[in-house]
Symmetry: C2
Subunit: 321 residues, 2 copies
């Protein structure tokens, strides 16, 4: 059985988006449900999701474990796995880790771009690594079954997370720096260490992470994937598209600024390009998985390898965790 999994989307959720994901044949999607929301605000978001599940029960359902990916395939639906892009929902309380797991959380970034209580984000000048509280939280995430996601974290913090976590971690949505230099992309050394610890790298289709941004070509993207397998086994590579379909620009402002500054920060954008960037034509939405399939095969990946990258590798990772 070959599964298709997009291991990071943060769309403006609607029946249309769920339909597109079905057309793309996605058996599972890891969706970001919160960024900098605290625990109470998380509960509000989860209430919204219970409405989505109810109103679109023919298309989606809540995923809790790898069996739900199998169930999704059998029922022609998409299993939705919850994730957080910042650790704000657990506030400063170790006991909330289990609570958010009970609520469905399966991935949590230890930090977004800034310093968190757990680790350092990639936009800070100095990276002190995983904190005292961070170590405790990783232990607890391992225990309850939440994947440590370091996509937006700084380098030393990510090395620390790989070291401290007893279970493999994930970088759900980032690309290698050797291909495109961006604060959010990852060095060869880090990708190597991730692979050696059996962690997963979800390659991103977000234009700021792509060479030539919105003008990145499919061929060039697939060449990058091929080169990346020289650093990390192909079995440890998947897709985390970082698709932000139909999101208004106010959302990227929230992602980048939270409530921690009075002046606007443009993150990976700039004052003139403050909004969401345009997707490359071959990946305007998840239906781009079909293009990826063609491109990966064209560059020389076998059917097995291609299927691995497009979903089976994530499926196996879910199964292990």
């Amino acid at each position: 059985m070959n599964y298709k999994i997009d291991n990071l989307q943060y769309c403006n959720w609607s029946r249309d988006v769920f339909k597109i994901n079905r057309e793309a044949g996605l058996d599972a999607v890891h969706v970001t449900i919160v960024y900098h929301e605290d625990y109470d605000e998380l509960l509000t978001e989860i209430k919204k999701w219970s409405v989505y599940f109810k109103e679109n029960s023919d298309l989606i359902f809540m995923g809790k474990g790898f069996e739900d990916i199998e169930k999704a395939r059998l029922n022609n639906k998409t299993a939705i796995f919850f994730g957080f892009q910042n650790c704000s929902p657990i506030e400063d309380n170790i006991n909330l880790v289990e609570k958010v797991h009970d609520l469905g959380c399966r991935f949590m970034q230890l930090t977004y771009n800034n310093q968190s209580l757990l680790a350092t984000g990639c936009y800070e000048k100095i990276d002190s690594g995983v904190t005292n509280f961070g170590k405790e939280v990783i232990k607890e995430m391992n225990r309850v079954g939440i994947v440590v996601d370091m996509s937006h974290s700084a380098e030393k913090s990510t090395f620390d997370a790989i070291e401290f976590s007893e279970k493999p971690i994930a970088i759900t949505h980032a690309n290698p720096t050797f291909w495109h230099t961006a604060k959010r992309n990852k060095s060869n050394d880090l990708i190597k260490a991730l692979g050696e610890s059996d962690g997963m790298l979800g390659l991103s289709l977000y234009p700021h992470h792509l060479k030539n941004n919105s003008n990145c070509t499919l061929d060039n993207f697939c060449e990058m994937v091929a080169k990346t397998t020289e650093i990390i086994n192909v079995e440890n590579i998947g897709i985390g598209s970082d698709l932000c379909l139909n999101q208004p620009d106010s959302v990227v402002e929230w992602m980048r600024n939270g409530t921690w500054a009075k002046n606007k920060n443009y993150g990976e954008g700039s004052k003139n390009k403050s909004g969401f960037p345009k997707q490359p034509k071959w990946f305007e939405d998840a239906r781009g998985f079909l293009n990826l399939e063609k491109g990966l095969k064209k560059i020389g990946f076998s059917d097995d390898e291609t299927n691995g990258i497009l979903g089976n590798n994530w499926y196996n990772f879910y199964k292990k965790i």
Copy 2:
């Protein structure tokens, strides 16, 4: 006019404690009202204080500016200034800085012992300094008039705070490391930089910060004060006793552990000495200010210098801020 100010107490507040502070002649006390409480929990604590103020209006009132210290002296009362020992009440929201100031907050530590969103605490292995959010918060604290307090912070973070803050900062309760090595005490270099920036050092009477702990002698403490004036001007020295009168041991557990670990951390104590340490006999409560006065004069401080250390220096600092 000579004022007496204890610029850090965290007692189990009661009419008895307020009476003791009056007997000690304290015109002002900076009281810790929260540690790791979030904004809502802060509101609960402030409600408790409004009851204290109402029920003890013959002894205390809420202080907001230096004029309240003068008013306290005129009315034979103690002005109570609110402070936080961690930045938890502002959560991750820059706009809460002004709100907590409106509620009376006049001192806020950027961090307790652990990493916070603003800076690194003295119990972390690596100190990355003041964070991006921390810089924004310092700017806002300067604007609204909350003193940056770095008593529990790590060294680089404290140097950063001195550099980034446009107004002088305070270390409200700590002693020099040259006298007693403790994670919470401060190096000569740091004390020097603090003085050069016209910041205040509040010397602590908390046994874990004292040479020979509970057995520290008054003479030895006063010798330390004299030596400290070789590093920082006497005008920049005050008292922040860190008195935790009548607190049950459950409180020190909360201070040290918050909700960030499943195992207990004993902080400056140990498993066998997990509770609050015993105060030295000459400073069992604020009435020890009378002993300090004798001791400081005995070691050679002039009347002016002694009065400065016991309150006037803090008064002048309040006036400047």
